[in-house]
């Protein structure tokens, strides 16, 4: 499955069209409908990836779009798609959900991700190594985990990661590399124990 977000890579025309939609939505919230339809799935997937309860993930997604429609008048175009603004709302709503509802922060991982990490760590794919990887992921700092999830689980380009986390593309690259190094260290620490 290709996880790279197909609607993210906006052309200038697409960005201009989106701007028109936003301008209309600022005057009349009913014009927010095309933006809602465009981003609903990807925002839900972003939230669901980080939660263990699917129904709760739908609730948080609704809350994200409610905040977005309510605050669309405050949105300022800075050359990036509306999506990056929605992701920032989603990130803050997720944190709020973890604080308020005591929902558990989840890390969703599948066989292909495990295989990728084992290849990077030059380790064989065994159950023991898999458990060590899970332990290492669970022990990571939240900021590092976010980078690992965005890059390795969701396969997003560095430019998009930068826009979601409000950092430069190069900085996203460096930070992701460092996060991977720290994951590697945690993995080897668990291997020695």
């Amino acid at each position: 499955m290709n996880r790279v977000n197909p609607i993210y890579h906006h052309t200038r025309k697409m960005l201009a069209d989106e701007q028109k939609c936003i301008a209309l939505a600022k005057n009349d919230p009913r014009h927010f409908a095309p933006l809602y339809e465009k981003y609903h799935e990807q925002i839900f997937r972003y939230i669901n990836q980080r939660m263990d309860d699917q129904d709760l993930a739908f609730d948080v997604t609704s809350q994200v779009f409610f905040k977005a429609i309510k605050n669309i008048h405050k949105f300022e175009f800075r050359g990036v798609p509306l999506g990056s603004w929605l992701y920032r709302i989603a990130k803050s709503e997720l944190n709020q959900a973890f604080r308020n509802r005591k929902a558990k922060r989840a890390i969703n991982i599948d066989e292909t991700h495990v295989a990728t990490f084992m290849e990077v760590f030059q380790q064989e794919e065994s159950r023991r190594n898999r458990d060590r990887l899970f332990k290492a992921l669970a022990e990571m700092r939240e900021t590092d985990l976010q980078l690992i999830e965005l890059r390795y689980f969701e396969e997003r380009p560095y430019r998009e990661i930068g826009e979601i986390l409000s950092i430069k593309e190069n900085n996203a690259k460096v930070k992701t590399f460092r996060a991977l190094e720290r994951l590697k260290l945690l993995f080897y620490k668990n291997k020695r124990e």
Partner: protein
């Protein structure tokens, strides 16, 4: 305390099932409900209050003159 849960090979919901949960009308309804009517806003009561005080002061000053 580690509060993270690692889930391995969870079924990913299909685009269709996510689409089924889209409800823009409900979002609009929620938005409409969140908008306070003008009479319940601070700006309204501030204006009304200010007008009442100004009117009262005017009446008192007129009464003093006559």
């Amino acid at each position: 305390m580690n509060r993270r849960k690692v889930i391995f090979n969870r079924t990913v919901p299909s685009s269709r099932s996510i689409k089924e949960r889209e409800d823009f009308d409900q979002l609009l309804e929620q938005y409409a409900q969140s908008k306070h009517p003008y009479f319940s806003r601070i700006a309204f009561w501030g204006t009304v209050g200010g007008a009442v005080v100004a009117n009262f002061s005017f009446c008192v000053s007129i009464a003093k003159l006559t």
